[in-house]
């Protein structure tokens, strides 16, 4: 069952996700970062739908369980496309849109095939296992892709502060969830410490994007080499 802590974090997270859309709208960044905002809008809609199903059928119902995992998988795919849109921003001058689109779809198919190969032994609820596996694998693929994008930012000396912060916050978010899934797979019964922390991870991305849209003007510039852990 969900306790008051989980409900408060859930509400806070939904408010923050809506705040990202408001901030992006106020700062005229809604269309510029369309996929990021689509992801946030989808998160808000899914949150509301989840609450509706939870209040109708209960936390332990199959309806809530299925909706939770299926919607989570769709949200992960949306976030994956949001990351691909950041690639388009970084490589916009190279006119590499088609390559990025092809690469994104290819990697998504490859991850789906890998996830299917992992779960095909399951005799019952194959699709549900597949959806769960795909979500977990996409977080790790997303993490690797964000790292590659960060390396490209450093190499190409990208200076747009807002874009850099969006990429870095996505990196933190992907690595938090990838680590969390890995811990869950390693120790099947996660302790209360992790159970308490997990809902908080979800707040990080909307919080950092709110900051990036609200506080950083599109014209703000930064020297990326100064941000690297190993100075270049």
């Amino acid at each position: 069952m969900l306790g008051p802590y989980e409900y408060v974090i859930w509400l806070l997270c939904t408010i923050l996700e809506a705040a990202v859309l408001v901030c992006a709208f106020k700062k005229n960044a809604l269309r510029r970062y369309l996929f990021l905002n689509v992801y946030m809008a989808a998160s808000v809609v899914v949150s509301i739908a989840r609450f509706d199903i939870l209040s109708h059928y209960g936390f332990t119902s199959n309806e809530y369980l299925y909706f939770y995992y299926y919607s989570d998988s769709l949200l992960t795919i949306a976030l994956y496309f949001a990351l691909a849109s950041l690639y388009s921003h970084i490589f916009s001058e190279l006119k590499a849109e088609r390559v990025i689109r092809f690469g994104t779809l290819f990697l998504l198919c490859a991850t789906s095939l890998f996830s299917y190969a992992v779960v095909q032994q399951s005799t019952s609820r194959l699709v549900t296992h597949f959806v769960l596996e795909l979500s977990q694998n996409l977080y790790f693929v997303g993490l690797v892709l964000t790292y590659v994008l960060w390396a490209a930012i450093l190499k190409m000396r990208e200076t747009r502060t807002r874009l850099i912060q969006l990429v870095l916050s996505m990196g933190v978010y992907f690595s938090l969830f990838a680590a969390n899934f890995a811990v869950q797979n390693l120790y099947h019964s996660t302790g209360s410490f992790f159970a308490m922390l997990t809902p908080l991870f979800g707040c990080f991305l909307p919080l950092s994007w709110c900051y990036a849209f609200m506080k950083l003007p599109e014209e703000a510039r930064i020297t990326p080499s100064r941000l690297a852990v190993v100075p270049r």
């Binding site: 993490l143 960060w150 912060q165 933190v172 690595s175 990838a178 797979n185 390693l186 919080l207």
Partner: protein, 133 residues
């Protein structure tokens, strides 16, 4: 085995991204000059040292809370604690890391001083609004 590999990769990349993200937050404030008033209060004239951080945070807590910078201050607070941890462990064995953590801690303190300046301005703005109404 696979999960352990993913866990190690994720934690290493998490640290990389977190450090870079915090540095990007700090970088914006590094260009900002402190007013003579804040320089007097904090004792920071040009470069700040890590030892100033705790004092500046205490001063920040005396000011009315501003929702705009609360989260970034918390993130930098977490970064400062991470740097303290590195300083007391790894940096003892690697001298170049000791110098790096010291410089980063100074940047954190400077960031907090800039946040203090913003909070003072925010409080003054609120007071002026109340006086008008």
């Amino acid at each position: 085995m696979m999960a352990a590999f993913i866990l190690v990769c994720s934690v290493v990349l998490l640290l990389q991204f977190f450090v870079s993200y915090c540095r990007s937050l700090i970088a914006a404030s590094a260009k900002q000059m402190l007013s003579p008033e804040v320089q007097d209060v904090t004792g920071i004239s040009r470069a700040a040292s890590g030892e100033d951080f705790a004092r500046v945070i205490q001063l920040l807590r005396l000011c009315p809370d501003s929702p705009a910078d609360r989260n970034s201050i918390q993130a930098i607070g977490a970064y400062f604690r991470l740097l303290n941890f590195l300083r007391s462990t790894l940096a003892r064995m690697v001298p170049s890391m000791h110098a790096w953590t010291e410089s980063e801690r100074g940047h954190c303190a400077y960031f907090a001083a800039v946040a203090l300046e913003r909070r003072i301005a925010f409080s003054r703005g609120m007071l002026a609004q109340q006086m008008e109404s």
